[in-house]
Symmetry: C2
Subunit: 440 residues, 2 copies
């Protein structure tokens, strides 16, 4: 049996491992366009920001590791098309390759800004580690950077440039950074801290074109032109489904490939995983797309196991998230108020400001928690937080509470650790839940 995996990101690597585990005798071949697999692209902004020393630190496994593990990886190889009827793919330079089972982990692309000047040199899209290494050399010479669009990667890159001492301009049409995922009460301290880091925020500002001849020299916006030595384009992620749609594989409302809970696509013997698919949200059943590397890896594993003849299911997702933004950490689970309102999901809001340690213990930090509660079921619809310590762990808590359908009453009166150097008498999530209870 031959199992072919397309894509060398977290989904593809997970799929290859899953397939080999489920079908040890199968031939498993992974095709990737790129020169590398087994590194963490999530770390790239922090190398630019000089918080991580070297790009090489991001490499988790070298090529020899995969060779020794018996993984057949074909680097810098393009899969050009799929024929799901004859179970064949066309590979540039290799010709026709038959498959018994196929797993697609083709990932995502940046949304095309569709603006004049998009082909200028010096416009950079954060994704591939080798391009990042080249771009990093440009940064040594650069004085002024513009980051276009306040998406999560945009926020990380703007923060990184500020850390590196560049004059940084951050341009976005929204009213505040991450406007389509995070609420203003959460982002307000973040914005303030970004300004404190010297970042010039140009909110409610649209990019009209990239200025320059050959190389980019600036960005023309609805509020005037900003000169720039380097420009990072951090538009939204869109699922990369070109191969799949050309082969007639069905995609859904987000543009992602539709999969069942075994990650099987509409085509026989074809599975898909990671940023190229859409997955239902556990509570709202809304299909969502563009999750994290850990989601992609877990989905890839399920797809690979099932392609190898096993039987594994992937659960609907709550999507805990978190990131450093300015000098704060933000995070949450599922929907904020902005998104829940846009999707028409009924909710009551509970909000509270708490602290991370006893208020007399030096170095405590503020934590703001905003919870959304379904007034009918009294369970969580989502939550958002801004703080310094314990944000990732609280987002994981909220995701588990959503999954287990924990009533908001039980969060309001939860037991929590109280010890002056590590936790306050009142857990901030409990305070927010109590606030929500008052409105129910």
């Amino acid at each position: 049996m031959r199992i072919v995996v397309v894509g060398g990101g977290a989904a593809g690597i997970g799929a290859q491992g899953g397939a080999k585990g489920a079908a040890p005798d199968a031939e498993v071949i992974l095709y990737t366009e790129y020169e590398d697999v087994g590194y963490s692209p999530c770390g790239i902004p922090f190398v630019h920001g000089r918080e991580i020393e070297r790009f090489e630190d991001l490499i988790l496994q070298d090529k020899k590791f995969y060779e020794d593990a018996g993984f057949d990886i074909r680097y810098t190889t393009r899969v050009e098309s799929i024929d799901t009827a004859s179970q064949e793919i066309q590979v540039a330079g290799e010709g026709t390759v038959k498959y018994d089972r196929l797993v697609l982990g083709t990932g995502w692309n940046y949304e095309d800004p569709g603006l004049p000047g998009s082909d200028l040199a010096g416009l950079h899209y954060v994704k591939n580690i080798r391009r990042a290494m080249e771009f990093d050399k440009l940064l040594d010479e650069a004085k002024v950077a513009v980051v276009v669009d306040a998406t999560p990667i945009g926020v990380e890159m703007a923060t990184a440039f500020a850390h590196r001492g560049l004059e940084t301009h951050f341009v976005d049409p929204g009213g505040w950074p991450l406007a389509d995922v995070a609420d203003p009460e959460i982002m307000e301290p973040v914005e303030e801290s970004m300004r404190g880091l010297g970042i010039h925020l140009h909110m409610q500002t649209s990019v009209e074109r990239f200025v320059g001849e050959g190389s980019v020299r600036g960005v023309a916006t609805s509020q005037g032109e900003i000169p720039a030595d380097v420009v990072v384009v951090a538009t939204h992620k869109t699922p990369n489904t070109a191969l799949a749609t050309a082969a007639g594989i069905k995609t859904g409302s987000t543009g992602g490939i539709i999969v069942d809970d075994g990650m099987a696509t509409s085509a026989e013997n074809v599975w898909a995983a990671g940023d190229c698919v859409e997955i239902p949200h556990s509570v709202s059943k809304v299909p969502i797309n563009g999750l994290s590397g850990s989601h992609a890896y877990a989905q890839g594993k399920v797809a690979g196991v099932n392609a190898g003849g096993g039987e594994r299911a992937y659960q609907a997702v709550q999507v805990p998230w978190g990131m450093v933004a300015g000098t704060w950490t933000i995070g949450g689970v599922s929907f904020g108020e902005t998104l829940a309102t846009a999707l028409g999901i009924p909710h009551v809001v509970g909000m509270a400001d708490g602290i991370s340690k006893a208020r007399y213990y030096p170095g405590f930090s503020r934590i703001r928690v905003k919870l959304l509660v379904d007034p009918k079921t009294r369970t969580l619809v989502g939550g958002q937080m801004v703080g310094v310590e314990g944000i990732k762990e609280r987002a994981d808590f909220l995701a588990m509470a959503m999954r287990a359908r924990v009533p908001i009453d039980d969060i309001a009166w939860m037991e929590n650790v109280y010890s002056p150097p590590i936790g306050a008498l009142n857990e901030p999530m409990a305070l927010a839940a109590q606030n929500a209870l008052g409105k129910l």
Copy 2:
């Protein structure tokens, strides 16, 4: 209606607030033996350790605050006896006081070490803030300190003395610090770090007597004599039920007052809350005693509301806990392996070492998680952790997962935040759960 509260700790203050809320027109009187209420005794070790600057920082509310709020607090007043038939108490200096409803929040005492020399000056018991202020002055002159018994307060005090630069000896009959609550795999790095801080650990060592004439000058142990300028006795906490038992109110197997889920005692119109009561553990139903200040406050609130004519229930407890120990933070929920084995609770152990950030991100720290799983129900029996970041938040997570009876499978395959500066690809609790699954 007159509601009398005995005790000015977290339980008593919670009860007074609860009673006033439920019965705004009632006369609510609180009696305390001490000079103060409204401070955090949990912060005392950290002032001795100079991590918190002044004892005054521990005062959360001053006396005027309570006066302004209409609270009638009788300071330095001893309640000598209760007559539950005539609904009267005897108060030293005030005589007979009638009550309609009574709430006991009489707290805890240190177990009497029962050793020769227990009456020497310089033996200190950490509890009251004014005694702590006096003791702190002794510390300015002291060079050598001995801490007797490796209980949580013992660990905090030994760590505090080391921070303050005293030669610190820590004596305990157990094989490792906190031996009756924490497992050796968790305490091993803690012990190492305590030695690194210069603390002399004398484990498997019993104290035989306190040496000195008038003032303590040393501690005689099974392993020889340790000279000392100051000695902290940190024996176990025992429920202070002298008043209750003399009045015929029933106590249980832990020695704590037996209460129902409304915190009512066996005597009519008498409630009790905090360290003087025992509460069933949620899963094992074992009665337990000696929880945290946040438990005492929450229980006091319930007792006060019910004494005031309201109707509120207090849930069985999971008891998340956490504390700084040496240079580490430890924590967990419910039972460790040592205690579960002693109690005969069936369990399978899952253990894993994880990290707090991406492993290429500077400053990540190790987190060891040990989970106990009931092999029949596949839910948590308890857990313990040692790490630096996120221990309190993870203990809260585990407590919620226990309360919601989350299957260990759902913890093993939980969704978690992955972002290099705040969380690793693999959540350490999930890794430990996966390890447990392998044994089920």
